[in-house]
């Protein structure tokens, strides 16, 4: 039997709700009807997750229509590769700083994102664009608004 997306979503929400309910039960301040304390807000959230998760799961079981495809296998690969690139970028910023790592990310992402584009982009345009974006964003945050961006452990 093929698992429907709503069934999966519902199950994940119920598990998340139970997990948070367990964490809430560990709070030191007790829950009483006179004063619910710090358990109140997350308690409502956890209860909501369990009930809604169950509801979505049941809806998924009752639904007769086929699920619309959210992302194809190719789509998921794209999302995961982009996600991994961004995680790598966060790591690169730590060591190389914003100004050095950003042009590489922008170049890589622009090239990767351009794969479907009808308009062909030239290599030098992408390189210049990457450098301009990095410098412009750095200039906007650092000299213009007096904020800091990662300088990089290797350059500090």
């Amino acid at each position: 039997m093929k698992v429907k997306r709503d069934q999966l979503t519902g199950a994940v929400l119920v598990i998340a709700g139970l997990f948070f309910a367990y964490l809430i039960s560990q709070f030191k301040t007790p829950f009483t009807p006179e004063y619910p304390g710090p358990s109140l807000l997350p308690g409502i959230g956890a209860f909501g997750l369990i009930v809604c998760g169950a509801g979505i799961f049941v809806q998924g079981c009752l639904k007769k229509d086929e699920d619309k495809v959210f992302l194809t296998k190719k789509g998921w690969t794209r999302v995961l590769i982009s996600f991994a690139a961004l995680c790598l970028y966060v790591l690169a910023m730590k060591y190389l700083g914003f100004l050095v790592s950003t042009p590489f990310l922008v170049y890589g992402v622009t090239t990767y994102f351009a794969q479907d584009s009808a308009t062909k982009t030239r290599l030098w345009v992408r390189i210049v664009f990457s450098i301009i974006v990095a410098v412009a964003i750095w200039a906007m945050y650092v000299p213009l608004f007096g904020m800091t961006l990662p300088a990089g452990l290797l350059f500090e």
Binding site: T9, E34, P36, L41, L71, F83, L86, S117, T119, I137
Partner: protein, 499 residues
């Protein structure tokens, strides 16, 4: 109110503020016009830039982004048939057919003018009504505030119809995320896992940018970027409207304005709903409803006046009660809190000058938007030609830089990536965004008031026995149960028909 005018004027003519108002408005219009982006996203992305600004400058910049975004949304609707944001969904239905009939210039002129009328006059009404609303709010206790927060969260759910469980699940996620860190009153650490970065709670930018912006860009790419069709700029010269057009639509404009103002005022509602209600009202009131959907001018006037009138409407509960009228005002409340301004009835006594600065800024930005759109009307098609791969790659960097600037450490940028992952899962599961934003921002306000209420009376029954709080609680419960009622009534009707 008038005693603040010299201060307000002094702020608005400062060169730095004027420059940021202009930049914010242009950026807002671009974000509003491009399908997939929105004024809300612009406010979210550029909010950290305001941290080093004075609160007046921050207000002017953020409001310019918001108004620009809301007023630019019709451009995509008219020229492409794809709404720039949820506030311009119904503008597509007649705006795009008008463009296809060679009346793009007139449709754009209606959009520009209607946006101006809606925003400008709603700001005036907002300024007049906000102080009166604040006077009423002084009589409200923690019970009423709790109930109002609940109404704001549940009203969003009521319009999500068939997705009630999903809407509530998104609200629940928002409440859990809002709970992270030390609890109010009892100072109990919640979900901190002994991590010092979690003790102060999750930052608004980290959570919301991760869930809505970064994940949105990745999912959009995963689905494959859709290139916008090329639109010619031919025939987009001139204003395109005359006095007779205004005379013909006067009733429609007034009705749509009142709908927008009213819906904007309701906590949790906003331009996403008002444009739809105004459109159907215009259609129902029209002598020629059959023309709607085929390039009817009234079908462009109504949603555009209403969605912009919601701006002033939404600012009333934001300023007077500290309760957001929609997701953007929720973000603004968060931003103003960072600048040390807590919205609510006391704000008129403590910072009345700032409140009226907000309303006047909205009115001035409405004028600026209109002027910019008049001058740049023939260049609108160029905004829609920005290649996705350039635009989204630059936006990704701004998202990550915002998270760093917001927190000052890369740990939170990593955390934002975690929330991006959560956002992708939410999108896969079909969970909506707005309920999460509202719950995340309203959660702490609701909790503080709810706990105070329990401290005063020690029982939950007071929420139902106090008249205003009781009515609001009933409204909230009705909103949650409304899809069930609708389904039951629908089945009963079907049964009757079959008998």
């Amino acid at each position: 109110m008038f005693e603040y005018l010299p201060y307000i004027f002094g702020q608005l003519v400062l060169p730095g503020n004027l420059a940021l108002m202009f930049i914010g408005t242009v950026v807002g219009i671009i974000f509003g016009a491009i399908p997939g982006l929105s004024g809300t996203m612009a406010v979210m992305l550029f909010m950290p830039l305001t941290y080093t600004m004075s609160h007046e400058t921050a207000i002017i910049f953020l409001l310019s982004l918001w108004i620009g975004g809301c007023s630019g949304a019709f451009i995509g609707s008219v020229l492409l048939g794809i709404p720039g944001s949820a506030s311009a969904v119904s503008t597509c239905w007649d705006g795009n057919p008008m463009a296809k009939q060679g009346k793009a210039s007139k449709a754009l002129a209606i959009g520009m003018t209607a946006s101006f009328i809606g925003t400008f006059f709603s700001a005036i009404f907002g300024a007049l009504l906000a102080a009166k609303t604040a006077d009423i709010a002084f009589a409200m206790g923690p019970w009423e505030y709790t109930a109002l927060c609940l109404v704001a969260m549940t009203m969003v759910l009521a319009i999500s119809k068939g997705n009630m469980f999903k809407g509530l699940a998104a609200t629940s996620i928002g409440l859990i995320l809002a709970s992270v860190g030390y609890s109010p009153i009892d100072a109990e650490p919640r979900f901190t896992f002994d991590n010092m970065y979690l003790i102060g709670g999750l930052g608004m930018i980290v959570v919301l940018t991760g869930i809505f912006c970064v994940s949105h860009i990745l999912v959009t790419f995963g689905k494959g970027f859709v290139e916008n069709p090329k639109v010619s700029k031919e025939g987009l010269k001139g204003y395109g409207l005359n006095v007779q057009d205004f005379k013909n639509e006067a009733g429609n404009i007034v009705r749509s304005f009142l709908i927008g103002l009213g819906i904007g005022f309701l906590p949790g509602m906003g331009s996403g709903l008002s444009n739809l209600v105004a459109y159907s009202s215009a259609k129902n009131a029209s002598k020629t409803p059959e023309l709607f959907g085929h390039g009817c001018e009234s079908g462009v006037w109504a949603p555009e006046v209403a969605n912009n009138a919601s701006i002033g409407g939404a600012m009333i509960p934001m300023a007077a009660l500290g309760i957001p009228g929609d997701s953007t005002t929720a973000l603004l409340i968060g931003a103003l809190t960072i600048h040390g301004l807590e919205m609510g009835p006391m704000v008129f006594a403590n910072s009345g000058d700032v409140v009226y600065l907000m309303f006047v800024t909205v009115a001035v930005v409405a004028l600026l938007v209109f002027a910019i759109q008049m001058v740049c009307k023939r260049y609108f098609p160029y905004i829609l030609r920005v290649p996705n791969h350039y635009m989204y790659s630059a936006l990704l960097v701004i998202c990550l830089a915002s998270a760093y600037v917001d927190s000052g450490n890369l740990y939170k940028v990593g955390m934002m990536m975690f929330f991006c992952f959560v956002g992708i899962l939410m999108a896969a599961g079909g969970l909506p965004n707005s309920p999460l934003i509202l719950a995340f921002i309203l959660g702490p306000i609701m909790e503080k008031n709810m706990l105070r209420a329990f401290q005063y009376t020690g029982t939950w029954t007071t929420f139902f026995t106090r008249p205003v709080s009781g009515v609001l609680m009933v409204v909230a419960i009705f909103c949650v149960l409304s899809p069930i009622f609708t389904a039951v009534i629908g089945r009963l009707k079907k049964k009757k028909e079959s008998v």
